[in-house]
Amino acid sequence: METLAADLEWMAWTGPTAAFFAGIALILAAMTAWQTVSPTIERRGFLPMPTTRGDRLFIGLLGSAYIHLAVIGFTDLNLWIAFGVSLVWMAVVMKFG
């Protein structure tokens, strides 16, 4: 384990970034499993084009990144508020997008 940590030293890992990437990896793994069990069917919701589940995940994640940037750059709000808003945005896009 120590060898692995030494080998990855150049990547400058931190706890929060490791948790972030683990989260992304888990989402991708879950989406892959979901896709295998029940393949996506393209549909149209409130977004201006037909989307698959993967498309909606991409749009949700990209939107979440921008929500975080907006909160960090232009407000004094706590980052957890941005996280909460992103979760709501993600759920809305996945369900109704």
Binding site: W10, A12, M49, L69
Partner: protein, 291 residues
């Protein structure tokens, strides 16, 4: 709308590419994310600073200026290169040795390395010894790209048009050559004008190659670095300092790796969003037309 579920078995075949991309893109990207939340003091000395660099970079007036210049530059590049590329491709010979000769001549600028392109234009446009610079000045038009922001912009734009319009031309030419002769014969029977042939046959048939051309030219121009770096060094003042050059100033010039990493991620997200909008818009229109 296609209701059939997708067969995803083919994704297994993409695994080798995924591995290569992981090593060449994803792992470096992860490292940049890690750097963006730390103050890097030395090779093994780092302090976690959270979102401080993002706050600093997002409120930096120099970044806002570089971003605006970058958007204007990419907009100009697309507005000039795409119509010009289509126009040249339409006038190129269709067959025979003339066609091969034109293709070779058109492709030549693409073979020249970026830094050499910058050097060529730096010499060519110099107001004291450069062919173009001296010629323009002797016509009575004051031109000096080292002191006038407008001249510097004009020179960088013309250089980019010279270097990269050939790519658009080649893509459009390939698109035009793939149109079956029957379409032209049908148009001739209907008595269609040259404009009608272009509007209803050639342009729709070129949509796919134009998608690629617009995406490539947008992404490339949005990341432009070497040519303006060699030609103007970002000057006069900051007139031709685009995003990449600003990023290099922070990362390599000042060795502020944390802010540079935060800046890179914001830059990446902007390119990702704009490319996605372009791609979705064009492929969506394509599918609507196919119906």
């Amino acid at each position: 709308m296609d209701k059939r579920p997708y067969d995803n078995k083919a994704w297994l075949l993409v695994l080798p590419v995924f591995l290569i991309v992981a090593i060449s893109a994803i792992i470096p990207l992860m490292t940049v994310v890690n750097y963006s939340v730390q103050d890097v003091l030395g090779p093994f000395q780092r302090v976690f600073v959270g979102t401080e660099w993002f706050e600093q970079v997002l409120n930096d007036d120099r970044l806002h200026g570089a971003f605006l210049r970058q958007l204007i530059f990419s907009g100009c590049v697309l507005l000039i290169q795409i119509p010009l590329g289509i126009a040249v491709a339409l006038t190129m010979p269709v067959k025979g040795w003339q066609s091969s000769l034109c293709l070779v001549l058109v492709a030549l600028p693409l073979l020249i390395p970026w830094n050499v392109v910058g050097t060529i234009w730096q010499l060519y446009a110099r107001p004291d010894i450069g062919l173009a610079g001296v010629a323009v000045n002797s016509l009575g038009i004051p031109y000096n790209y080292t002191s006038s922001a407008f001249d510097a912009w004009l020179t960088v734009l013309i250089m980019d048009v010279w270097h990269w319009t050939p790519l658009v031309i080649l893509l459009c030419y390939a698109g035009l050559r793939s149109i079956p002769e029957a379409f032209y014969q049908a148009a001739k029977i209907d008595g269609a004008s040259a404009w009608a042939v272009f509007r209803y046959i050639q342009l729709p048939k070129m949509r796919r190659v134009l998608t690629i051309a617009i995406l490539l030219r947008f992404m490339d121009s949005f990341m432009i670095y070497t040519e303006p770096f060699v030609l103007t060094g970002g000057g006069p003042g900051n007139a031709t300092t685009f995003l990449s050059q600003f990023l290099a100033q922070i990362a390599v010039g000042q060795f502020d790796l944390g802010p540079a990493a935060a800046f890179s991620l914001i830059y990446f997200l902007v390119i990702l969003l704009l490319s996605w909008i372009f791609y979705t818009y064009i492929t969506h229109t394509d599918r609507e037309d196919a119906r």
